[in-house]
Symmetry: C2
Subunit: 191 residues, 2 copies
Amino acid sequence: MARPSVKEKRTEEILNAFEKCVARFGVEGSTLEKIAEEAGLRRSLLRHYIGNRDELIDALIARYIERSDADMQLLANSLKNASPQKIIDYLFYEEGDLTAQVSQALMVAAPEHENIRKQLTRWTNDFHDQLTNILKAIYPDATKDNLHIVSAGIEGIYLNAVSFNVLDDMENMKAASKAAALKLLQTLDKT
Amino acid sequence: MARPSVKEKRTEEILNAFEKCVARFGVEGSTLEKIAEEAGLRRSLLRHYIGNRDELIDALIARYIERSDADMQLLANSLKNASPQKIIDYLFYEEGDLTAQVSQALMVAAPEHENIRKQLTRWTNDFHDQLTNILKAIYPDATKDNLHIVSAGIEGIYLNAVSFNVLDDMENMKAASKAAALKLLQTLDKT
DNA sequence: TATTAAATTGTCAATATTGACAATTTATGG
DNA sequence: CCATAAATTGTCAATATTGACAATTTAATA
């Protein structure tokens, strides 16, 4: 017998706005006012629905990691025994620039935010393990070392390639990066 | 017949402090007060020697790019006809974490700072060209495409590996990254 | 329609940050 | 010592940012 709650909806809107701001201004550059404006809400509503600045950051990183974990699961499932080309195609599929820029901004904020640093560290290691497992399924004869090495290399090329999104006219570099990832992966062929 | 000028010295000190802050707090998180405190100077001196906030940022990126260009020249000269292992060793030599974190923070600031974005874009392309040339000297028979691809891949692995510095306990990943770069480079062997 | 819980708006003070510039101190050459 | 140019300190106002909370409005339902 009361007004219906829009808490979930608003929370999503706020965090979406926060992400957009983080991509443009970084974590420290995202003032509550900017976030509110981006969300089309009053600043007081950020506080009402989520909390103060620190709690907003916690909510952001929590949702980001949650989604990244989900994406990783999807990746792991989709790529069981996929071909090398398929794997690279999947990985380098344009997922909308936001994620990459947010990830980079969070990295920059990591030194001062214990919470962010821990979560990103765990995620990075998880991602590595997942990718290594995927590769292992395709190349069962490859040595553990080689699997680790190639996995780390692909991950590096991939993460760096998406970071090109903030620069101008990097299409060539992105294409070359993708080709490099495939080439590295194919070093596992001959064993 | 006047007091000797310390302008150059102070300017260096200020920009050093700015870099440290940028590595910790990002560009937008580096307030003039924090920079001044890090430099052990009054905030008014930042203004006196360099200027307002925007001018400080311009000075920072200018010096950063200048140094990066110099490093790149050194790299190009040092690695003329070096062995693959030498090249990778040189590239992955620990140069003091600062540079990497500053670079990443500048990337995050790029969307909102035309100046930063342009300069980083140019530098990234230059770096790619230099590395490609170095590889070409060692592998004169490799195709242009393959040189580009391997160069982009190594660059990606390298840049991403240094970004691990902000996370915890990433020694394994860094080592694997280095090995991956070498492995990728060696794909140019057989041609 | 009256009630009720939630959404939304509005306001205020405390603090942080920046820009601008005056005032003072200091080290050197003459 | 004196004049001078530079360094350094100090201060002030304007603006930005945040935290906190009161006041109001709105939509469902009994």
